[in-house]
């Protein structure tokens, strides 16, 4: 059975970039008030616990918050470029 495609899902750097953009977009749309606080992942719920090290949940919440803060503006530019490229080249 001589298939030309490998069973490694034919990864390219472009598909990796697409996956990263989609994941960062997904993190960026998590709203602070409407969603994260409701499930106990809000900013105010992570301040407590000044022990020696924070747990995984606190680290995750910090990561979500920092990604949302840092990537908000660059994501606008990257998404616009992506939309234009996809419209032009399919």
């Amino acid at each position: 059975l001589y298939l030309s495609s490998k069973s490694n899902m034919a990864f390219t750097l472009y598909s990796l970039i697409q996956a990263v953009i989609l994941c960062v977009n997904a993190v960026a749309v998590l709203h602070e008030e409407r969603f994260l606080s409701k499930i106990g992942w809000g900013v105010d719920q992570s301040i407590g616990g000044f022990g020696d090290e924070p747990g995984i949940k606190v680290q995750l919440m910090n990561l979500v918050r920092s990604v949302r803060t840092v990537m908000r503006v660059p994501l606008i530019a990257v998404n616009s470029v992506c939309i234009v490229l996809l419209l032009l080249f399919g």
Binding site: Y2, S4, K6, S7, N8, M9, A10, F11, T12, L13, S15, L16, E53, P54, I56, Q59, L60, L63
Partner: protein, 311 residues
């Protein structure tokens, strides 16, 4: 100036009549003869000075239309502008590249010699006899890999990656499945898996808040060590068929598992746990699980990236 003019004229008379192609670089090298890179270094003085020296000779010798290119002031200007742009661009690239890619730190990872590479390759396939896995330091900076076999390097992973692609092409060629595009596909696939693995390890190191001195480049180096085992497995598969492939891959998987555990144990776990003492506590347990999962991911990748090559 006269001396150089006569010297160049005599040299040009030796050139054959065929050499009429307009080649300013060759003209420049024949002109001064000592500095072939003059085109890029001296942009201010050269173009204005030299053509006038040749104008006088242009009447005497005939049939060198390349001369007219340099005597034309517009092309002089263009050439001067172009070469000054090139040197400016080179300076800009040199200055900014050091901001994005830490070039000096990269140089540390390539400071290897043959003895180190040989010993490290032996260690990658047979790590069971090695006793001391600690990286030796010299005043807070790690010693170069040339002097310490436990230090990670980037030479073996880089060479291993390239060799893996070549061996994959060879393996596909023996099955009549080779096209030139497949080489590029293999390369980008393996690179993508490597980047994803390094990103996942970085994320998990961040989440578990391990205070370690492992840099990103160290992680790339550790992830690249598995290519050695993959190459050995595929070559064995080509020589001895599927059983040879499975046996050597099993051996290399176990070796890289032990290698990673012994290397990462010293870097990720706390001091007491690294000595082999069972330290209880959720944090140490988490770190132990992290080490084991990083080490266990290596054999999985080794199998995943090579099984389609050996049929």
């Amino acid at each position: 100036m006269d001396y150089t003019a006569t010297q160049s004229v005599s040299r040009q008379r030796k050139l054959t009549y065929v050499d009429q192609t307009i080649d300013p670089e060759m003209r420049n090298t024949s002109m001064d003869g000592t500095d072939p890179s003059q085109l890029f270094d001296d942009t201010s003085a050269a173009p204005g000075v030299q053509p006038t020296g040749f104008q006088g000779q242009g009447v005497g010798t005939m049939g060198h239309p390349g001369r007219t290119l340099l005597s034309d002031p517009m092309s002089n200007l263009a050439m001067a502008y172009g070469s000054s742009l090139a040197s400016q661009g080179k300076d800009l690239v040199d200055k900014n590249l050091d901001r994005f890619l830490p070039i000096s730190k990269l140089k540390y990872y390539f400071a290897v010699d043959t003895v180190y590479v040989g010993k490290k390759l032996g260690l990658l396939v047979f790590p069971y006899m090695h006793q001391n896995w600690e990286v030796s330091y010299q005043q807070d900076t790690p010693v170069a890999p040339r002097f310490d076999i436990n230090a990670p390097d980037l030479y073996i992973p880089a060479m291993g990656f390239i060799t893996y692609i070549l061996v994959a092409g060879l393996a596909l060629g023996t099955q009549n499945r080779f096209t030139p595009e497949i080489l590029g596909m293999q390369a980008s696939s393996a690179l993508v898996w490597l980047i994803m693995e390094v990103l996942v390890v970085l994320l998990s190191l961040y989440l578990v808040t391990v205070n370690t001195d492992l840099t990103t480049i160290d992680l790339v180096a550790f992830s690249g060590y598995k290519y050695v085992g993959m190459i050995v497995g595929v070559v064995a598969g080509l020589l001895f068929g599927r059983t040879g492939y499975y046996l050597t891959l099993l051996w290399c998987c176990i070796s890289i598992f032990v290698f990673m555990i012994r290397t990462l144990r010293l870097k990720l776990l706390s001091e007491a746990a690294a000595q082999g003492v069972l330290v209880h506590g959720a944090r140490n347990q988490l770190r132990m699980y992290l080490t084991m999962s990083i080490a266990a991911a290596q054999p999985i990748f080794m199998y995943w990236l090579t099984y389609h090559l050996v049929r």
